[in-house]
Every structure is written in C-alpha cells, then in structure tokens.
Amino acid sequence: VTPVESAVRVTTVADSPTELERRQLEETWGERPGFWGWITSVDHKSIGKRFLVTAFVFFVLGGAEAFALRLQLAKPENTLVGPDLYNQLFTMHGTTMMFLFAVPVMEGMGLYLVPLMVGTRNVAFPRLAAYSYWVYMIGGLLLYTGFVLNVGPDAGWFSYVPLSGPQFSPGKRVDVWSQMISFTEIASLGGAVNLVATIFKHRAPGMSLDRMPLFVWAMLVAAFMIIFAMPAVFLTSFALASDRLVSTHFFNVAEGGDPILYQHLFWFFGHPEVYIIFLPATGMVSTITAVFSRREAFGYLALVLSLVATGFIGFGLWVHHMFTTNLPQLGQSFFTAASLMIVIPNGVQMFCWLATLWSGRLWFKPPLLFVLGFIAIFVLGGLSGVTLASVPIDLQAHDTYYVVAHFHYVLIGGAVFPLLGAIHFWFPKVTGKRMNDRLGVASFVVTFIGFNLTFFPMHLLGLRGMPRRVYTYLEERGLAELNLTATAGAAVLALGLLCYFVNLIWGLRRGPPAGEDPWGADSLEWATASPPPSYNFNYLPTVRGRSGLWTRAVNQPVVVGCKLDMHEVLVTNTLDAEPDHRTNLPGPSLSPLLVALATGVTFIVTVFTPWGIVIGGLLAGLGLALWMWPHGKPTELVVWEEK
C-alpha cells in the first residue's frame, strides 16, 4: 500500500448531494452573470460551445465562398467573378475551411466533451482554453476584415513562394494570411496542450488508459499531432512574413534561400493536418457505431493502435504533395510506400467499424446515417488517395480537379459527415433538447446526394485536364456539362446543409426535452443532466470498464472529499487513473482576454512594422505577469519549515 493509496478512505455518502452542497457547487463553478461573466468565463463547456458556434459561422462563410466559385465555373468564360476576386475567394475558402473551421471545430468538440467523458469538472488549464478561443476569434476577424477591405489573401491556402514572396505579391494580402496562421496555430496548440493534460491527469478513478473512450483516444492522438505539426506552419508563416517584412532570405534563391524548403516545412504540417482533422472524426464514428449498434466497439485495441499508428505514419508522407518538384527517385519511392502504408491502419479501423455494425442491432437514427455516409464517401476518397500516392499518376493529376475531388471526399466525407452525425448525437447533451429525427434523415439524404453530385464529376474533370485555381475555361475544352453538374450539386449540398441548420434551430427552440441519456449511450457525459450543470457531475464518478455506463455497478462508488468552495478536482495517475492528489483549478479571469488582445496587437501591428513584436511582446509579458499574479483569497498557504 503506497502512502497515496492509504490516504484514500472508503466511505458511504447519500445517493445525491444535498441542496446546500449543490448550491455551493453552483456558486463555485457557475459563471458570473452578464457581459463580465461572458468575457471572464473559463468553463470548458462555454468555451467549447463558443469554438463550435464560431467555427460554424466560418463554415458558412467558407461555404458561401465555395458556392461563388461554383457559380463562376458553371459555364465557360463566365464573367460573374473576375480573376482577382476568384484568387481571393479560393484562398479564403481553403484558409477558412482548414484553419478557421476544421481544426477549431474538432478542438471545440474536444474541449466540450473530453472533461465530461473522463469524469472531471473542467479542463486542466481553464484560462488557457479561454485564451485559445480569444486568439482564434481575433485571427478569424483579422482574415475577414482583410477580405472586406480588399486585402484578402490571394496566393492559395498554402501561399507557396515565390508567388507569395515580396517580389510577386506586394501589398499586405499575404501578410494578413501569414499572421492569421499564427493566431490559429497558437489557438490549436493551446487546445492541444489542454487536452493532453486533461486526458492524462484528470480521468475518473478506474479509467485506465485501456478503458478510455475511443473519442478521447482520438482527441489525445490528434492533440499530439498538433503539438508536433503546428510548429512547422509557425516557422513557415513566420519566415514568409519576415522575408516580406524585414528582408530575410529564407526562400530567396538569389541569396541561398530555397522555395522547396517552404514546401517541405508547409507540408510537414499540412499532411498531418489532414489527420488532425480526421482522427477526432474517427473517434466520433467509433462512438456512434457502438451506440447505434447497441454493442461495444469491435476491436478496441486494434482501433486504438490504428489511431496511434496513423499518428506516427501521418508524419512520414508529406512529400507526396511535392512529387512534381525535383525529388530524388529514392525519395519518391519512400514517400509512395509511406503513403500506401497509411491505408493499413485506416483499413483496420474501417473493418472494425464494419464488424461492429455487422454484429450489432442497428438503430437507424440520423447520427448512424451520417456515419454510414462517411464510410461510403471516405472509402472512395481513400481509393483516389491511393492512386495519387503513385508518382506517375500524381504527375499527371497534380493541380487538376482530380485532386480537388480526392481531398473533398476525404475531408468532407472523413470529417464533416461524422461531425454532422456527432452534433446530432451530442446535441441533446449540450442543449437538453432533441433535434428532429425526420428532418435529420432528410438533411442526410439531401447532403449525401448533393455532395456526390458536386464532387464526383470533379474526378472526371481532373482526368480531362481541368486545372485548379483557374477562374474560367474555354467552351472547346468540353468541360461545361460536368461543371454545370457540379454547380447544381453544390446547390443541392447547400440545401441539405440548410435543412441541417434549420433542424438545429428547431431543436434549440422547439426540441422536446432530451433527458440524461436519450440514446442509451455508454460514456460518462451521459451520466449527468442535459445540459450539464456548471460543475458537470454531482459527485465525481468512477468507472469499472470501457463503457462507463454500460458496465456500471448498481452501487458504483463516487469520489468525495474535494473542497466544494474551491475549484478543486481530483488528479489521477497517468496510466491507471488511480487517485493521486487534489488540485485547485483557476477561476474566471480577464487575463486570457487581455493576453489574447496583446497577442493580437503583436501580430496585427507586425503586418505594418516589425516593432509590433516589441510592442506586443511587452504587452503580452505584462499580461502574463498579471495572469500569474495571485488574485483573491489565497487557497492553501505554505507552512514554512524554517523560522
């Protein structure tokens, strides 16, 4: 018996806390009212919801940009959108969807769900979570302010040099892009660090690593991928900005720089980025397939190992985005092999989901339909990906619509479909109300048809040689019918998504009460009220199996002994989640917003003068000192051993 184990006492408590205890919990963990409460909130649920709402606003904006692109391409030599605006639109679309929607929306889901799923009251670093959100929002505002002021970036979502360098892109458009990248990168890293620490140290007793919900595993692997991938895009965007602003020569051939270095650094981030978006979605798929098959996920160990393997292999394929550059043949072969190898863990996951569905009692509700749609679309996207891993095919298809078709099948099929299913699935938990299932089915059917109608013709367009990022095409190319079909498909897709959003609003305003666990699901978030109270759980829970609720004993123990008048939570050990110590989390604070504003000053002023780093750095330093400085009533004072 270790000293820590002996400090945990087994006792009995009332089934639920007294009214007084609940009130105390609410007073401690509840948000302050009004605007002040809103800007100082550090509650993971509020911040997670903000991430989700903001990300969906950007999703709508990015979607509108895509629709404008499709309208322009609906007929040959169309003049609806000129070349300059077209360049801005496709850059804004890609940048928005990758940096302002896909990654933040997954982090929002993680920030909201992970603390509930692991059975704690907040994330490990609540103020960091708030800071991440504010920085993300400022970055998004910067990008769209630039766009409205005709300073929208126009060099593609990856802003390759030399096109984006000082020689070929004068003005501030690319600077806006590069600084926006810095904002979103910081926000993602903050979210990732938070998730790693929360998952490793705040799991409910009994939730050893091999009992963690698959969604939590997926978020953990994605968080580590963010930690290792995002520094590369920070370097890329920072070096690009400094080449433009202070005349460094990272990518200037004349002074020993190298444009290919830009591509290496960018894609060292860019390819893992796909998995950063995709892996959380696989966690959603694993969760939904199990719940709607009424059985535990088939092949838990294989699914976890596949996640981890994907995380590792995902860092070994970036060069397949660069096959048309002057690569040595050995390098081409290596990255072809690595690109094919990643099919293995993804295939294992796919077979595990199929086995779960095959051996379960299926309940065809909208979340499951979206998952089935995911399986169909993602497999197709995966297959076209295998073809692109082959150098000779890639050389022909590079920068054509075949690639556009492939990555939309992978990204929309692989991430957006599971996400739409997941939101339908967790909506009752977040709002306490249910969405309409019929409207859910209708939105799925229309979205599925619209998606395939939009993107399948793009394979054929690409194979017929239609290049990406060109604002129009000639009638004689014979591309008009397929383009018109894709544009019609985009309208159907928009209609399907509109149905989905109508359903969301209907659910919020008129949805029937959901109760604690309307789907009969198995993870801990369903063990509390819907929506969860500010303190998440009446008592901190314990678990005794992988499916926390399905394997719960009638008299499953709870955790007591954390102080109710402080933000105190239990810390457990990393591997086995045994109780280790208590810790007091920080409460509401303005510091995250202030430091985020200082960060904003740093990056936005830097667009115009390098002194922005000095000014913003000093402001951020002061903000951080304020952040660290003790406020309010001291918690536990140290009793000094020496006189």
Partner: protein, 215 residues
C-alpha cells in the same frame, strides 16, 4: 452484489472514495502543470529541430560555407553565454529542490542566484548579435542563424522574467502551495532553455567549417 452493497443501494447511500486526505500538490509527472510545460517544451523542441533541419538544408545551397565567416568576438560572446547558461543550471535545480522541501529561504536564495547568470546570459546574447559580422538580411544562412538565436533568446527572456515574477510573489504575496509547483516547473523550463541553447550553439558555432574560418 454483496449484502452490504444491497443494503447501501436500498438505503439511499452509495460507496464513495474520500480523497480529502490526499495532498493538494505534487511535483514532476504527477502534476498536470508539469504535463503542460512538457507539451510546451515538445512544441519548442520541434520548432528548434525543424530550424536545425532548415539550417542544414540551406547550407547545401552555398559553395563556400559559411558564406560570411563568423568573428572570434561573436564566438567568444556566444561561448560566454553558454557558460552562463551552464552556471545557471545547477542553481535553478537547487531552487527546484527547495520548492520540493517547501523552503522559502532556499527558493528565494536559489532563484536570485539563478536569475543573475540568466540575465547575464541575455546581455551576452545581445553582445553576440552586436559582434556578428552579418545581419539577418545578408543571406539565407544569416537569416536562419539570427532566427535561431533570436528564438532561443526569447525563450530565455521569458524564463528569466518568470524568475522575477516568482521572486516578487515570494517576497510580496502570501505564498500558496501551488507556488511551490510553479517554482519547480519554472526550473524544468529553464533547464530546457539551457539544453536548447547548448544544442543551438553546437550547431551554429562548433561546426568544423565554422571553426576553421573564424577570424
């Protein structure tokens, strides 16, 4: 279900783990803050490694390397900086030990002792920049060189400033148990800063091609 459990289930009572006897802080990998700092170090270490790769990649573009030879004065300033970093390491480690022992006197003494070489290091880094025979805008080698040293310098500024903030808390505020953990993780982060400084110095200055052309 055992008879005792059945009794509890029907009497509105349930078993519970009372954790009130557990400590309220822990050090090292037991502490969530340690994991936060570990992640931060992973992020920064990855950034450094990528920059090292960029440095080596760009090196291949020069027929003569380094394109502008480094001066002895810059080398000596950089080497002096590394000695100061090395000196600060055991001192900050002693502040970590003092935090573990909850020794106020020890924390104050060793934090002050560590802060002195840390700030002296920053002065040495400033001198090194001043002595370099090239600016960041001379060529790609100079750009990566300055970027690496400036980035490491900014880590050191952050670490040294944190020493000051912690000392201010120790002197002017009631010290809570969580501040012991803060002093400890501050030490972990500074040791990382020292390690990155040494690795970067080795790459930029101890390269035989650079040493051969020192003047």
């Amino acid at each position: 279900m055992s008879q005792a459990s059945e009794r509890e289930a029907t009497s509105g009572q349930r078993p519970a783990l009372d954790v009130s006897g557990l400590p309220s802080i822990a050090f090292g990998a037991r502490d969530p803050h340690w994991w936060g700092v570990a992640c931060l170090m992973l992020i920064e270490a990855t950034t450094f490694v990528l920059l090292y790769a960029a440095y080596i990649y760009i090196r291949g573009n020069f027929d003569v390397f380094p394109p502008i030879p480094v001066k002895w004065s810059a080398f000596l300033a950089a080497a002096a900086g590394q000695l100061l970093l090395l000196l600060s390491a055991p001192l900050i480690y002693l502040s970590m030990l003092a935090a573990r022992k909850a020794s106020m006197r020890g924390m104050k003494r060793w934090l002050i002792a560590a802060a002195v070489p840390s700030f002296a290091f920053l002065a040495a880094r400033g001198l090194e920049f001043h002595m370099l025979p090239f600016r960041w805008d001379y060529n790609a080698h100079a750009s990566v060189f300055w970027f690496l040293q400036a980035m490491h310098g900014s880590l050191a500024v952050f670490g040294a400033s944190e020493d000051v903030v912690l000392l201010a808390i120790l002197y002017f505020k009631p010290v809570e148990k969580k501040h012991l953990v803060d002093v400890h993780t501050n030490g972990v982060y500074w040791l990382f800063t020292v390690a990155m400084g040494l690795a970067t110095f080795a790459l930029l200055y101890l390269d035989p091609a650079v040493l051969r052309t020192l003047r």
